[in-house]
């Protein structure tokens, strides 16, 4: 019995502790899943008219018509557009943040304190008031109705958090590791890539996921910039299913379910980096 326990669980956990762990996890999982069940009942009910769950009628009304209708209404194009934007945001945003975070973490330089606080500043101004100046600036730079016009604000949105997160993570990695690398003849960039980054995989995973997610679910800026019906992204497309009074809730719910898939997939893929068994934080002296 104890051999079974030792194989699968922590050495020091007693059975009551293990059971309570499962209970806590199950309770919260139930909490997160329950509203989704709501969503699923609406998604699988062809012609659903309200956004209120209908558990009783789930099996009678089951049908995938909503999913079919969603794709007929251009959902595929929206998915493609969103994928492009989100991937680019993630790649560029994280790359840009890595270099900045490294500078903040490893160097003492003039402007550092103000610099890092100013990253924080950018998050503080309420979003509703950014609409008008955003319109102005994008108009002047002729970036309306283009993916670049969307990319630039998105990258600006994800960089502050990524920089702070990566810096915080870099701070936990002792400098002694890089110093030994310098002695061995590495230069700055190599030290960054070969030593610091591999040890920061969890932070990288978080910031990649976060950047992707921000671009994937952003509505306001996308609705302002993208005017061409073939260029709009998922959040903007979703809203077109809902009108001021009533809406095609079934199709809306089906699209929402489809929208969640890529994020879940990405998370599944990245979580092994998030919780990887690394010999992290240790220079085993």
């Amino acid at each position: 019995m104890s051999k079974f326990k030792a194989n699968y669980f922590e050495r020091n956990d007693s059975w009551p502790k293990i059971i309570s762990t499962y209970l806590i996890l199950s309770f919260f999982s139930l909490l997160t899943v329950f509203p989704i069940l709501n969503l699923l009942t609406v998604a699988f009910k062809p012609g659903a008219g309200t956004f209120v769950a209908d558990f009783a009628g789930f099996f009678q009304n089951f049908g995938i018509a909503n999913f079919r209708d969603a794709f007929a209404m251009n959902l595929g194009t929206w998915i493609k557009n969103s994928l492009i934007i989100s991937t680019m945001t993630a790649i560029i945003g994280v790359t840009v943040s890595i270099t900045a975070a490294y500078a903040f973490s490893r160097f003492q330089f003039w402007g550092k304190r103000v610099g890092i606080m100013s990253f924080l500043l950018t998050q503080m101004f309420p979003a509703p008031m950014l609409l008008l100046p955003m319109n102005l600036i994008l108009m002047k730079l002729n970036l309306m109705n283009s993916f670049y016009g969307l990319l630039i604000p998105y990258i600006a949105t994800v960089v502050p958090f990524s920089v702070w997160m990566l810096k915080g993570y870099f701070d936990t990695i002792p400098k002694s590791l890089e110093e030994s690398a310098y002695i061995d003849g590495c230069n700055l960039v190599q030290a960054l890539f070969k030593i610091v980054l591999p040890l920061s995989l969890p932070a990288l995973a978080i910031t990649t996921l976060y950047s992707f997610m921000q671009a994937w679910s952003e509505y306001v800026i996308a609705s302002v910039i993208l005017r061409d019906p073939n260029m709009i992204t998922l959040p903007v497309g979703l809203v077109s299913f809902v009108s001021s009074f009533g809406g095609m809730w079934g199709v809306y719910a089906a699209s929402a379910v489809i929208t969640s898939f890529p994020v879940m997939l990405l998370f599944m893929f990245l979580s092994k980096y998030l919780v990887g068994d690394l010999t992290s934080g240790g220079s085993k002296e």
Partner: protein, 356 residues
């Protein structure tokens, strides 16, 4: 020496802001109404100013990045700073400018400068205090619950546990679902007659509550929904942060016979600080400015009784078209958050050098 560099830092950044502002204006929307010639003159002046500051600072360069190119950090930062300044500096300045005009429906194309009148109006609004209080309560409860629940779950998931990948996947759902959809779903769940929550309450013998029917219950419903929306994010960050804590420390603590609670408060919490403090600061800022939940629950036309500061901004700007007034509110929000983050960051020492 410390005071000098702070002033210089501020001066330089201010002049950079001015330069960029001028660069992005034309005669129509020029903030200082100086026209094209004025813009060019201002550009040159700011360039000279920042140039001379740079030269002064070179003489007082601090830090001992001896083995490396001293310009390296600036190169590293350049891409990030460029993008941010481009997209954020201008809206911020524009927001400050707007707050000093009377831009509204009747003065839409040609707003006039009225300096601080908007601010006077904001501070003499009797409802300001209740709105600020409500915002503080909203932020405090939400962030506390996010962090507490997130930490709790992260610690559970940090153990060896069969099936934890499955739980991890389920627990990230609130974050993965499009926010709009999640909020609409919860709104449906809070429906007075047909919503699931009231149905469940009735099963356990509690009277159904008119969730969306009055400001207080709407507020409570919004908080509950936002907690659901926000804890996976904190859980994820805590999980990542826990990875950086080596197991050896815990095992050493076990050998010394330290209790689980002490392990938590003396090992886990301090070592999580560099990762959690940024998350908490940013999380607080985001929650403070979170428009969507209250907007969808109370509607942009909802009464004053359920608004927080940022939804008030939204209402003023898009229901009443008082852009100038809304901008003044926004500036106040900005200052509040700025002070808050400065205090938290200073106190937690996250910006101090040389910890490990």
């Amino acid at each position: 020496m410390k005071k000098m560099s702070l002033i210089n830092e501020i001066c330089l950044l201010a002049s950079i802001f001015i330069v960029l502002n001028v660069l992005f204006t034309t005669t129509e929307t020029s903030i200082f109404n100086a026209g094209a010639t004025g813009s060019i003159i201002a550009t040159i002046l700011s360039a000279i100013l920042s140039f001379s500051l740079f030269i002064t600072m070179r003489k007082k360069q601090m830090g001992k990045s001896n083995t490396h190119n001293w310009a390296a950090p600036y190169y590293f930062m350049l891409p990030a700073v460029l993008v941010l300044v481009l997209v954020v500096a201008f809206p911020l300045i524009y927001g400050f400018y707007l707050s000093m005009t009377n831009m509204s429906l009747s003065s839409f194309r040609n707003p006039q400068l009225i300096w601080f009148n908007n601010y006077v109006a904001v501070f003499s609004d009797p409802k300001l205090i209740s709105t600020v209080l409500r915002t503080l309560i909203w932020t405090g409860i939400n962030v506390f619950c996010h962090v507490a629940i997130g930490l709790l779950l992260a610690i559970q998931l940090n153990r060896r546990l069969p099936g934890k990948a499955f739980f991890r996947l389920l627990l990230i759902i609130p974050w993965a679902i499009p926010q709009y959809v999640a909020i609409a779903t919860w709104k449906g769940m809070f429906n007075e007659s047909f919503g699931v929550i009231n149905t469940l309450l009735q099963h356990i013998g509690v009277n159904p509550i008119a969730w969306l029917g009055n400001p207080n219950d709407t507020f409570i419903a919004s908080i509950l929904t936002n907690i659901w929306l926000g804890f996976p994010f904190m859980m994820m960050i805590a999980l990542g942060g826990l990875q950086s804590i080596s197991r050896d420390i815990y095992e050493a603590a076990d050998i010394d016979g330290i209790s689980a609670w002490k392990k938590f408060t003396h090992i886990t919490l301090p070592l999580l600080k560099p990762v959690m403090i940024p998350a908490i600061v940013l999380g607080s800022v985001w929650t403070f400015n979170m428009v969507n939940v209250i907007l969808i629950f109370a509607g942009s036309q909802g009464g004053d009784g359920s608004q927080i500061l940022v939804t008030q901004v939204y209402r003023l700007a898009f229901s009443f078209y008082r852009y100038g007034f809304a901008a003044a509110y926004s500036v106040i929000i900005f200052i509040l958050l700025l002070v808050f983050s400065l205090v938290v960051v200073r106190k937690s020492g996250v910006l101090k050098e040389g910890e490990l």
